[in-house]
Symmetry: none
Subunit: 601 residues, 2 copies
């Protein structure tokens, strides 16, 4: 989705009677219209820990990636760059190693550049450094009643409800698209969408999201549940069991019983909680991690592997990383562990969107007053003052009476609040951890797994795939397996170059299905690493380690002066899910409408 049809913020010029600078750079570049200047520090080939690869090509690639992050952080794109300066150690005019990287980065854009061979850089290991100056178009200060920060489902729903109540608002989004953690891409360009973010809903207890889908007239497809599921046991043993049932023939003595024991105990405990008051009804579970809880209840490795599979699949985290209370309450918020894990009617994974889940956000955005959504515009400052609230964002500033922040709590730190956020919000943001969940979407020309009566799903205690599901849209002739790699498995995968990661996933598919059927070659592979995405920083939902809920859970949803907070993790029901996001948006809109003294919806 193009942010707008305005002229570009940078114009490049090839002046008469200068040597031809194509295709690499332009002799002149200018900003056009009112712009904001973005300057980066010299970016080098050092990773987030400061580690520098010895290989110069890798250094250059890393420097370019860092540069991209810097620009994105400031709401700038490569086409906004008007000047680049390279500093190169051991420069060889006959082997300009940086050119191909820079060309790929700029993708046809040609800013003014200067190349400076230098004897050394700040640190002896650095051999390449690049700095950029960009100009980002600025809109004049806009006055509205409410600014909503973030155009995910929660933010868009807030805005929609506000506008229905006659409240003027804008939605200011950092990314170049709406939808947040719902993102549907079309890898083959044939209208066959896959969801690299959220995919599933149901049409019973997820009433809010389901109502929205119906209201927007979006076509749904039922998740396939017929056939056998492949299991990979701790020792690596591979077997099948009926989808929706219980694994069988596990290596551990009494493995199946242990698995059933922990599942039933957990389900019972989680059902005892009151989601409006988890700390009051289960505070003792906030004193320990989920791992500690599990190991207190059973010595069974299978039981622990099972609990681990849940937290990986549901939060992208390991049981050691969250308080037992957090996970109990998380499950209760979705009606209980069993309901959440289920793909049947009432389960968490019952229905999918033919055009992908992002279609909800895209359609919802279309119902807003034109000009409501401002893309490519990270909010960086929210200043409350007696004359109003000033919101500073990538494409311009806003003055308003109320703000609704819909970004995940760990991203609060990216925004400067004035006055500063209260301790509770700061600590929630700082301590809650965002998991690693990666969906590798493998597209095939036919659903070969069905030939052997397989449902296309797997669960593995060995990894790298944790679970996998058939996400085909048969009507469209679209066939795919969605392979999740999460928690520690995923983090290990994340260290590999994409190609090797894809290979590891394909290998695992072969290992699990190959016993039963001939595994075909894919026609497309797609992924999005949410944990490397600065506007998500992980997914699907931040979880609290022990102690945090006890101290701060009550303040998760409280307003900070005239700034309100929504987002799926603030929901009581279906926290972490799209349904929770929509619910939180409704709450946020109600709070603001009441505060502004406007008529209720």
């Amino acid at each position: 989705m193009a942010p707008d049809s305005k002229p570009p913020s940078v114009h490049t010029i090839d002046p008469y009677r200068l040597f031809d600078s194509r295709p690499v750079f332009s002799h002149v570049a200018t900003s056009t219209g009112p712009t904001r200047i973005v300057a980066t520090a010299g970016q080098v080939g050092a990773d987030e820990h400061g580690k520098v690869p010895a290989d110069i090509d890798e250094q250059i690639a890393l420097a370019m990636r860092n540069l991209g992050r810097c620009l994105e952080a400031a709401g700038a794109t490569p086409t906004d760059v008007f000047k680049l300066v390279y500093y190169i150690v051991d420069y060889d005019p006959n082997n300009r190693r940086h050119t191909k990287h820079v060309k790929a980065f700029l993708n046809g854009h040609r800013p003014a550049t200067t190349l400076v061979p230098v004897p050394a850089l700040a640190v002896p290991e650095y051999k390449f450094e690049i700095e950029a100056y960009a100009a980002v178009r600025q809109e004049p200060l806009r006055s509205v009643e409410v600014v909503v920060v973030g155009a995910g489902l929660s933010g868009l729903k807030t805005a929609y409800d506000l506008q229905q109540a006659g409240v003027s608002c804008v939605v200011v989004e950092a990314r170049d698209r709406v939808g947040g953690k719902t993102w549907s891409v079309d890898p083959t360009g044939q209208g066959k969408f896959v969801d690299v973010g959220a995919a599933w809903i149901n049409d019973t207890n997820q009433s809010k999201i389901c109502d929205l889908a119906k209201f927007l007239n979006l076509e749904l497809v039922v998740q396939k549940t017929e056939g056998n599921m492949v299991q990979e046991d701790l020792g690596g043993g591979i077997d099948v069991f009926e989808y929706g049932g219980t694994p069988k023939g596990l290596a551990e003595k009494d493995g199946v019983e242990n698995l059933v024991f922990i599942r039933e105990l957990f389900e019972k405990l989680c059902q005892e909680l009151d989601i409006q008051d988890p700390v009051g009804t289960g505070g003792q579970f906030d004193k320990m991690t989920l791992e500690e809880w599990c190991k207190k209840e059973t010595k069974s490795e299978t039981a622990f592997a099972t609990v681990t599979l849940w937290t990986r699949a549901m939060l992208g985290l390991e049981p050691r990383e969250m308080s037992a209370l957090y996970f109990l309450n998380y499950c209760k918020s979705g009606g209980g562990l069993l309901q959440m894990r289920s793909d049947f009617k009432h389960g968490g994974q019952h229905l999918r969107f033919i055009r992908g889940t992002q279609s909800m956000s895209i359609e919802l955005a279309k119902l807003l007053t034109p000009g409501t959504v401002v893309l490519n515009s990270p909010v960086r400052r929210i200043s409350q003052s007696p004359e109003g609230i000033y919101v500073s964002a990538g494409r311009g500033d806003f003055k308003c009476q109320r703000v609704v922040v819909s970004v995940p709590t760990p991203l609060y730190k990216e925004i400067t609040f004035e006055p500063p956020l209260p301790e509770a919000k700061v600590e929630i943001g700082k301590n809650n951890v965002l998991g690693y969940t990666l969906k590798v979407l493998v597209m095939y020309s036919e659903p070969w797994w069905r030939k052997a009566g397989l449902v296309g799903a797997v669960m593995s205690f060995v990894g790298p795939i944790t679970t996998c599901r058939d996400t085909s849209n048969d009507e469209k002739g679209e066939y795919s397996l969605t392979c999740f790699t999460n928690g520690d498995f995923g983090r290990k995968m994340s260290l590999l170059p994409q190609k090797e990661r894809y290979n590891a996933i394909l290998e695992h598919i072969k290992r699990m299905f190959g016993k039963y059927v001939a595994v075909q070659d894919p026609i497309a592979i797609t992924e999005h690493e949410w944990s490397k995405d600065q506007w998500a920083q992980g997914c699907p939902c931040p979880a609290s380690p022990p102690g945090i809920m006890t101290k701060y859970d009550r303040e998760l949803r409280t307003a900070h002066g005239k700034v309100h907070f929504v987002g799926t993790e603030t929901a009581y029901e279906w926290k972490g899910y799209m349904d929770g996001a929509v619910r939180s948006g409704e709450r946020g809109a109600k709070e603001v409408i009441a505060a502004l003294g406007k008529a209720k919806l």
Copy 2:
């Protein structure tokens, strides 16, 4: 005084998944809101004469000071900097000498930076170079009837009178505070103010400033005059005489008589002048310097030393630097030499302000329409055109019908006038010289000098202190000596590092008072070198060398088209003093009100 509560003009970002750049820099910095870009040349460690210290640390310190001056000249502060680039010769990654200087300069602000080791810089001596890019917030073009340039006493009084007459105006000031050459600082943070600029007034013949002080309800304190004054003779002999009297026992034969002779002759000649027409009534004295005049009248060294003490104490200059007419007229403008030099009733140094003289400007500014004073906003261009006058300043541009320039004449050159200033104004600005007057304010826990019956005043022919006065506020338990070092004495002191300068002053205090009483250690020392301050460039009042008055004095106060000129040096009475500043402001306002055809005050 904070310039405004708007968001800062530069925002820095620590992007997700880049290595930690604290505490030295940020990976990204952006301008926010409408801004003006300020770029500096690479600044090196060269002083105003191009001299480069051999020591690298000194070079870096000097480069940083030069950078500070550049930014200030453009109305930018270090927090407005979004990018810094260092170029370093013989760079040693294990010994980053610049870091501590840059950190001190930025004081917690972290712009994007690039460090470039280089084999050499433009000149072989240069080892360090730093360039900055800053963004300064711009207000949209504002239309007012009058723009007053400078928020010293003359400018603020002009604005006050204009607004009282119903004329809309702004006061555009280069500094981050009002008051110009009145500046009251609180070195111990206990509300005990000392005046690093102007201090004294009287309540009889300085009627204008006194009326203002009364109108603003400001508390005054009478200058102490009881006790003995210490004198230091040409040979270094130290003696005492009654304050307000005549030195005694001078080394030169007939020294006292010679002193009295020149004092009486000068007083007589100055009283013969008409301050409305000094050239018509004393034109012959504009053909010689004051030194030439003195040496024509007497061969006495004591007499010349006495004349020198006057010009140093009153103008921070030597008798060779000004025309005799200038000084005669200057004294006549304050009622005569004796009255000006006196600390008694009717004298120039009779009363002080408990909260310091800046309190007048601060209080006067509060009486202006909110938003009138724009700080941190040097005026750089005044363009008269048929549709109006455009004034370009650091924080934004103005369109108006009249301009009142209140900056000292030697600072006219800092502003581009369109059409250009007439020859007279240019030559006055170019030729008038601003003296070196430094007040070193030494605070003590008790007034130890009084124990020996001393009034706390000295006069010295030897230096570095020229004169000194007790500037205690006994009611506040605040005790201080204000030591003046001026003219050649002061210029020599100015070459020393501050610590050595302070030591020289303390040594001199010991030498002069130590003969009579035990000299105590100070608790605080304060100074401001006005001659290094680009918005003063010297003090207290520019003086004319021979010939300038004859040619141009009539045109000192004439308007240039619709641009009017005020400032203390344009006053007839108490030229160079705060009283003169207020008088000139009244005149300026009257001129403009008449020109605009508005009702008189």
